[in-house]
């Protein structure tokens, strides 16, 4: 076990003493479902306020163009229009542009929520209209006349680094958003002693997992109280609050940000704040609530996309299949602005060697500006593309060495006896039996049987592919990871807050620092509180969403990075445990026995010696809130408990080493599919997932997350891809062309659970919502496996039937 951990593990074992299994681990009905199945969800768009007006945005049709002139005079006269603003107006209102989270010279890029001087991606807002109703606002956009001078578009990440490439930001002088180069271990030595060097190029494509609900903001400035309330569906409101405060010139205590139900958010709702800032400014100017609801086309074209990554990979291997060292040179195409990126340039460092005992790694990563929609996290942010490269590379190595890809994996996986395992860059994989997990998945998918039959099927002209991939959802991030590219960034570590209160009626009230987007935080938090306080699950009320006026937060708060189970749940647990200790003291004093003799049971309490004489939470709360002389002497009245969980994260050291996530869940995906030789359409025959996300709080929730992650990966591999033409036009900006599979096209995922609690959190649950993107690599491995005998290799993380059919025909020497 790495140094400095044993005492932490012991501390958590001690704190984990209240786990009885009465509520944790049970498939209790989710608290959120009841309102959703009745169509009574409380989404941001459900907010209707008195005198509310609507915002619409005029967006650039060009991906790159100078703005020569904007004439808003006619739009201002349009019936119902109250306000029209352009980039130049916003520039005057905001004292400075959005701070750029990167290093010079990229930091010189100028970013306003409306384009100033030049539009840098198709769909970038250039003007905004506020009107009495949404129709008038949208109609008035047609009355704004913009004179553009189109410029050459930059749409290729590799081209961005060429000296004669068009410049996205003239102020920067080149297109590099950030650059890092790390070496961990003696890479050169392993490349010298290796039997073989295997090389490949991979391309993680541009897509964005699709939420049902687009971005929404309602800004309500109350002049009387001088309070700005924002209802929105941002996944981490504390991330943009500083920028909102600066833009509006208002202090935090006057800014109330509220999230409620969210219709999905996979990272693509982290960077929607430029729109929130616009709505807030308009509300302050007009003194009326302003609502903005994004259309689907706006969402696809200009919300945020997951970054595209090109990687050149070299692996040093032995002939018997040991992977010694890996070198990568990668380029992230992050689009037009650094609005959350270039964080992805280091976030992959949570999973540098994948799940393998690779001894040394060299990673040279660039993030570049292009004339495309700005990138932001997408389910499996930065780690999924990295694991894609590793898992695809394992298949390539296996093929070159003529070893079965699962044998190669089993040979290199970190074995259970080495857990907790420290990676070459200082990350600490906490627990799990990964080889056993892979074996379970192979068995459930009849892997060896399919392998035997594959050859026979080929003789019959059938293209059967078997794809295997393993992944880890590194969860509960250490924000210090971004200091690896920019040591000046303010945040490091990773924390989350919670409040648990027993209200005067004996019920529990809970608020969370997280902003759940359909991931059942109300349910799992209630299960933990019910367990620790030994009360009924139905008596625990968890506030929906986040409210900066009532939630306990830190600057890391939010729902991203699979962080609720490893960081949020411990905060809830510790808050409840502290409250339990106070309750026991009150009971002991009130019933006249020792604290260790107090028994809590189903919302009631008694002394072991006298079980007949009971009290309950209602009576205890009445004492705590109202009958103060009956409290133990010196005890503070009330039954509030606040906890902020602090894991033992440090800044990365001078060698860029640190533990960058708190828990590392495991999954193995096995896919068997058939490719139609005439149409290249895939048909999934078998899909098995083995998942180990530590202690399961609610199996229904875990099952849903496993399905969701597998679905979105399958969807990205075979359906979802943003396609730009050479001029930077997004050519699939509606659901007619940007494909998302229906339930009818989605395979039935067979899910098998393993449960290895994390030793690093008090409850032992691991983050698992993102799934590490494993399904993408498994599906692409399967497609390549189906056609590899024809001499076809796949570079991209996405394959559509047209492309595959062309490859098959070319390989067969047929006319394309």
């Amino acid at each position: 076990m790495p140094k400095a951990l044993p005492e932490i593990v012991d501390a958590y074992k001690q704190e984990g003493k209240y786990l009885t299994g009465k509520w944790i681990g049970k498939p209790v009905k989710t608290k959120e479902s009841y309102r959703h199945i009745r169509g009574k969800g409380a989404f941001a768009d459900d907010v209707q306020l008195h005198r509310m007006v609507y915002m619409a945005l005029l967006r650039s049709p060009y991906s790159h163009a100078k703005i020569l002139n904007i004439d808003t005079s006619k739009a201002k006269e349009h019936p119902g229009v109250l306000l029209v603003l352009t980039g130049d107006d916003i520039k005057k209102i905001m004292r400075r542009p959005f701070p750029q989270p990167t290093t010079p010279p990229a930091r010189n890029a100028v970013d306003y929520p409306l384009a100033v001087g030049k539009a840098r991606f198709q769909g970038e807002p250039v003007a905004m209209v506020i009107a009495e109703d949404r129709y008038s606002a949208e109609d008035a956009l047609d009355d704004i006349e913009v004179e553009y001078d189109p410029l050459p578009a930059l749409v290729d990440g590799e081209r961005a680094l060429e000296p004669d490439a068009p410049l996205v930001h003239d102020e920067v002088g080149n297109n590099v958003m950030a650059h890092v180069h790390y070496k961990w271990g003696d890479v050169d030595h392993y490349f010298e002693v290796a039997d073989r060097i295997v090389e490949a190029k991979f391309h993680y494509h541009r897509f964005s997992s699709t939420p049902l609900e687009p971005n929404v903001a309602v800004a309500d400035y109350d002049e009387r109280l001088d309070i700005m309330t924002i209802y929105c569906n941002n996944q981490a409101p504390m991330e943009f609050l500083p920028q909102l405060a600066a833009g509006l010139g208002m202090p935090f205590p006057k800014l109330r940000v509220v999230t409620r139900d969210m219709g999905g958010g996979f990272g693509n709702k982290l960077a929607n704040w430029p729109y929130i800032v616009l709505a807030a400014m308009a509300s302050k100017i007009l003194g009326r609530p302003v609502k903005w609801v994004e259309t689907r086309t706006e969402h696809l074209q200009s919300a945020t996309h997951g970054a595209e990554r090109i990687c050149y990979v070299k692996a040093a291997v032995t002939t018997d299949g040991e992977v010694l060292a890996v070198k990568m040179r990668c380029i992230d195409d992050d689009g037009a602005y650094a609005r959350h990126e270039p964080a992805g340039i280091t976030v992959w460092a949570q999973v540098v060697p994948g799940l393998y005992k690779i001894k040394a790694l060299e990673n040279d990563y660039y993030a570049v500006f292009t004339n495309k929609c700005p990138a932001a996290p997408n389910r499996g942010f930065s780690r999924a593309p990295h694991l894609f490269m590793i898992e695809r590379m394992m298949d390539r190595i296996a093929r070159e060495l003529d070893i079965d890809p699962v044998e190669l994996r089993l040979k290199n996986l970190v074995p259970p006896e080495e857990m907790p395992y420290e990676t070459p860059n200082g990350c600490i994989y906490d627990s799990g039996d990964w080889p056993e997990g892979l074996k379970k998945a192979l068995e459930a998918a009849n892997y060896w049987e399919w392998r035997e039959r594959q050859e026979e099927y080929r003789k019959q002209g059938k293209l059967i592919g078997i794809g295997v991939a393993v992944g880890t959802d590194s969860a509960g991030p250490n924000m210090g990871q971004v200091r690896m590219y920019n040591p000046r960034l303010p945040y490091s570590g990773g924390t989350e807050g919670a409040l648990v209160q027993i209200t005067p009626d004996g019920k529990a009230r809970v608020t969370l620092g997280s902003s759940p987007q359909g991931v059942s935080h109300e349910t799992t938090a209630a299960q933990v509180v019910a367990e620790v306080l030994e009360m009924d699950y139905d008596d625990v009320y968890v506030q929906t969403g986040f409210d900066s006026f009532t939630s306990i937060y830190t600057m890391h708060s939010g729902t991203y990075g699979s962080r609720f189970a490893p960081l949020g749940i411990p905060a809830v647990y510790i808050a409840a445990a502290r409250l339990r200790e106070k309750i026991i003291k009150i009971v002991a004093h009130s019933l006249g026995c020792k604290e260790e003799d107090v028994v809590l049971d189903d919302g009631q309490a008694y002394c072991k010696q006298n079980p007949e004489k009971k009290t309950n939470y209602r009576r205890i709360a009445r004492i705590a809130y109202g009958n103060i002389p009956e409290l133990p002497p010196g005890m503070e009245p009330g039954l509030y408990s606040i906890a902020i969980f602090r894991p033992p994260f440090t800044h990365p050291n001078d060698h860029n080493m640190a533990n960058l996530a708190l828990t590392y869940s495991f999954n193995a995906h096995v896919v068997v599919l058939e490719i139609d030789p005439e149409t290249a359409l895939p048909n999934i025959l078998e899909y098995v997932v083995v998942d180990d996300s530590g202690r399961i709080i609610n199996p229904l929730v875990v099952e849903g997350q496993v399905h969701g992650a597998a679905f979105l990966g399958f969807s990205a591999a075979l359906y979802e891809e943003y396609k730009y033409d050479e001029d930077g036009n997004l050519v699939n900006s509606s659901f007619m062309d940007y494909l998302v599979p229906y339930a009818t096209e989605t395979p039935a995922f067979k899910v098998i659970h393993m449960e290895t609690p994390s030793p690093f959190t008090p409850v032992g649950a691991k983050g698992m919502g993102e799934g590490g993107g494993t399904s993408i690599q498994a599906v692409i491995n399967a497609v390549e496996d189906a056609v590899a005998h024809l001499g076809i290799t796949l570079e991209k993380s996405h394959i559509d039937p047209d492309t595959l059919l062309r490859m098959i025909r070319e390989a067969r020497g047929e006319e394309v």
Binding site: P61, Y62, L141, E145, Y148, T297, N729, S734, D737
Partner: protein
């Protein structure tokens, strides 16, 4: 950049057709979906037309400019349009050939550059829409020139 081309037969002399096509007040009034026509001079005019492509509906404002005239044989022109979240840049060449007396063959070729929504959604509709609009323009031309 998509290119479109076609041929039309018009029952009128080449000079008559030329005269029609180079008179903004005449040809401008044949623009499909015309809402408004403003003539600046012989070689420049602007129109506002109603457009509907799938769910993209609205008004497009377009400026017409004659680039080159070689009467009565060849005409090159440019149309710059904007509206419905899009920009359209058309460069077209029209050639006139008299096939027999009072029968003129009109050959046209147009390079069309689309940006914005039309580029995103246009792939699906643009072919049909382009030919439909051109055919409406020439249908109107034919009707106005009938018997002239």
């Amino acid at each position: 950049m998509p290119q479109f081309k076609g041929s039309e037969l018009i029952e009128a002399s080449r000079e008559t057709v030329w005269g029609f096509l180079t008179d903004p007040n005449k040809v401008g009034n044949c623009a499909p979906g015309l809402k408004k026509l403003d003539v600046t001079d012989q070689d420049h005019f602007s129109v506002e037309v109603k457009v509907g492509l799938g769910f993209l509906r609205g008004t497009v404002k377009a400026k017409y400019e004659t680039l080159e005239k070689n009467p009565p044989e060849k005409l090159t022109l440019r149309i710059l349009g904007s509206g419905i979240g899009s920009q359209v840049d058309i460069k077209a060449m029209v050639g006139l050939k008299e096939v027999e007396q009072n029968k003129t063959q009109l050959d046209w070729v147009a390079d069309v550059k689309l940006s914005g929504m039309l580029a995103g959604l246009g792939g699906r509709y643009i072919n049909d829409a382009a030919y439909k609009n051109v055919s409406e323009l020439f249908k109107c031309t034919r009707e106005k020139l009938k018997g002239k």
